[in-house]
Symmetry: C2
Subunit: 376 residues, 2 copies
């Protein structure tokens, strides 16, 4: 434990990186997958199960928490860690992405975003300064600058405008974070990450990357991907971005992805990931296993006495029959969503652990080929 934020790069192998982020709340082993705890809970999973599954860090959504229960209330109640009973690191996003995708009647200016809550229609304003303040009130260990993330495909001018605005917001987020650190609202060891934007336009990505790097954040995120582009466009953009990012800081690829996306992105130097896929799929009867995706709604599992994934160490994947899981999914029972969400989050953690092991032992390229074949 330390009261400083740190990153140690322990091994690099075939482009993939094995490392450790240090925070006052504990170590995050990288490459790391962060389960998404949108509204201060990773849906249908107990905190203890997350920990036992190997999660070092979870992500929470600033947009949802600013609307309900409200950051000032969370602060009064002792912060997000105490509120949701998760004592390990938490990363919060800035709220920008969800304002764009969920809020009604949003109006974006250089100052910030004005929008209506999707819950009760109330009007809210999110500026770079407020986004950082909210994340400090929540007590997030890793905080994100406010950025403008636009859907792809988009025209060059729209992407460029979003890049310039995100850079300006990045600088304002950085200054706001420093001020909050001076007055003690931000706590020692908490860190702010910058976000690279630029769609799939190589020139804009390079410009954005270089400007974000110059701002010297504690870590760098790659945003604006996994929003509608092809996997090859995503990976090409990731490659040209990653090669311009400093090796000594963590790289967070936002919103990615499928198991194969994760392997491909780790191979291109990404260290951190988040995605709703394991939990959302779990709630819809889909499981991720070492033998690929399993749709438990399928009638073929109605009489299958075998476990979901004999290679998994997760009780949900190991101890219950596929026939029972099929029944629970068909009957729309809570326990179906609970077991499959748990199994999926555990699978993602096992996948990351396998990658870390392969990188540490210098066999990542071979491991990745074999894993992609099995998961396909």
């Amino acid at each position: 434990m330390t009261d400083r934020f740190s990153f140690r790069l322990l091994e690099t192998d075939a482009g993939a990186r094995f490392g450790e982020i240090g925070t006052p709340r504990g170590i995050v082993r990288t490459p790391a997958f962060m389960p998404v705890g949108t509204a201060a809970t990773v849906k249908a999973i107990y905190p203890d199960q997350l920990k036992a599954a190997g999660a070092d860090i979870v992500l929470a959504n600033t947009y949802h928490l600013m609307l309900r229960p409200g950051p000032e209330r969370v602060a009064r109640l002792g912060g997000l860690h105490a509120f949701m009973r998760w004592d390990k690191p938490i990363l919060t996003d800035s709220g920008g992405f969800q304002v764009m995708s969920l809020a009604k009647l949003r109006r974006i200016t250089d100052e910030g975003v004005t929008f209506q809550s999707h819950i009760d229609g109330a009007t809210h304003v999110l500026t770079p300064e407020r986004a950082v303040e909210i994340q400090c009130l929540l007590g997030a260990d890793i905080q994100m600058q406010l950025d403008e993330c636009i859907e792809l495909p988009a025209g060059h001018d729209d992407v460029e405008r979003a890049v310039e605005r995100s850079l300006a917001w990045g600088m304002r987020s950085r200054r706001a974070f420093e001020r909050l650190m001076e007055v003690g609202t931000a706590k020692p060891g908490q860190a702010l990450f910058g976000i690279v934007q630029g769609g799939t336009d190589a020139d804009l990505r390079r410009r954005s990357t270089d400007a974000v790097v110059a701002m010297d954040f504690a870590g760098n995120a790659i945003g604006g991907l996994a929003v509608g582009e092809t996997q090859s466009a995503m990976l090409a953009t990731l490659e040209l971005t990653a090669e311009r990012l400093p090796a000594e800081k963590p790289r967070y690829l936002m919103g990615v992805g499928t198991p194969v996306d994760l392997i491909e992105s780790v191979a291109r130097g990404s260290d951190m990931f988040d995605c709703v896929l394991p939990t959302r799929s779990g709630r819809h009867g889909q499981a991720f296993t070492w033998a690929g995706k399993v749709n438990l709604r399928n009638a073929r599992y109605a009489d299958d006495p075998g476990p979901l994934d004999p290679e998994s160490s997760c009780p949900a994947a190991r101890d219950y029959s596929r026939a029972y899981l099929h029944h629970l999914v068909k009957a729309e029972e809570y326990l179906g969503a609970m077991l499959l969400s748990w199994a999926n989050v555990a699978f993602y953690q096992q996948l990351m652990a396998a990658m870390r092991g392969a990188i540490a032992e210098g066999r990542f390229a071979r491991w990745a080929e074999e894993a992609k074949r099995r998961l396909a």
Copy 2:
């Protein structure tokens, strides 16, 4: 452990009974509350949590399981215990009650009930013989005769007809169970209970009770209560029924009830109970505590840092703040239903344990007065 079904009455105090049901799957301490696992899962709760909460037995619904996944399938998969990963005793109802309340286009004759599934409209037939066969296929440790349960208020003739039919079905259920025991479909130590009907009509109740007792079931259930009558009518009927039931066999009051109902019914000699109230309430933001009912939707809990019930040993009631539970309920998060269902099932078990302790120590009447005051 034993391969016989047994009941030992250990103490009687102020009308309340403390005892032990012995089955090959383990002991059931009485008075016992059986959490309801309708479709082979107690909604939103893991089997391990039920066990840790102190549940010795769960109830599963024949009606739901005969429709989905089907008793023959459950038998092929090793029986209900293996299917739902619950190795302690299971009691199944006969399906009759739910056919009356859930099925469409039901037609009742002396032979049995023909009805359409509420899931897919398929036609099914439930006879006394089939109801017992289904329960044997499921592998239930305690099985119930098929009965006709009618809604109250009802006319005298309707109640009388239901009583007579239930008695005839009781005799057929008993014979069917004996035949299945001879051929090995029913297993040693499994038991069949009879059911007293008769609405709130004292004469019909007495007639039904005496006839059921004469059939010499392993245990006797009191059905047809908690279906719309007042609490005082229910308790009066319970009293006149219980005094005619043999002391040396367990008495199961079906479908009851609230915490105060349970105390009043234990005071009148009941040994076993089941009710969806703790789990259904939990899914709707209602919690049972030693200080009474708590509606977590209420805005007054939004800033309450205290636990749900400081007297509970259940982690759900002890470790999370009311503010967090309020938030989860408002946000309609799975974890809200999970934690409150868990807390409620644990509270019901703690209530039964407190009653057993009070009876064993000869202080039940005093304990009951104090508990009713606190819970009101």
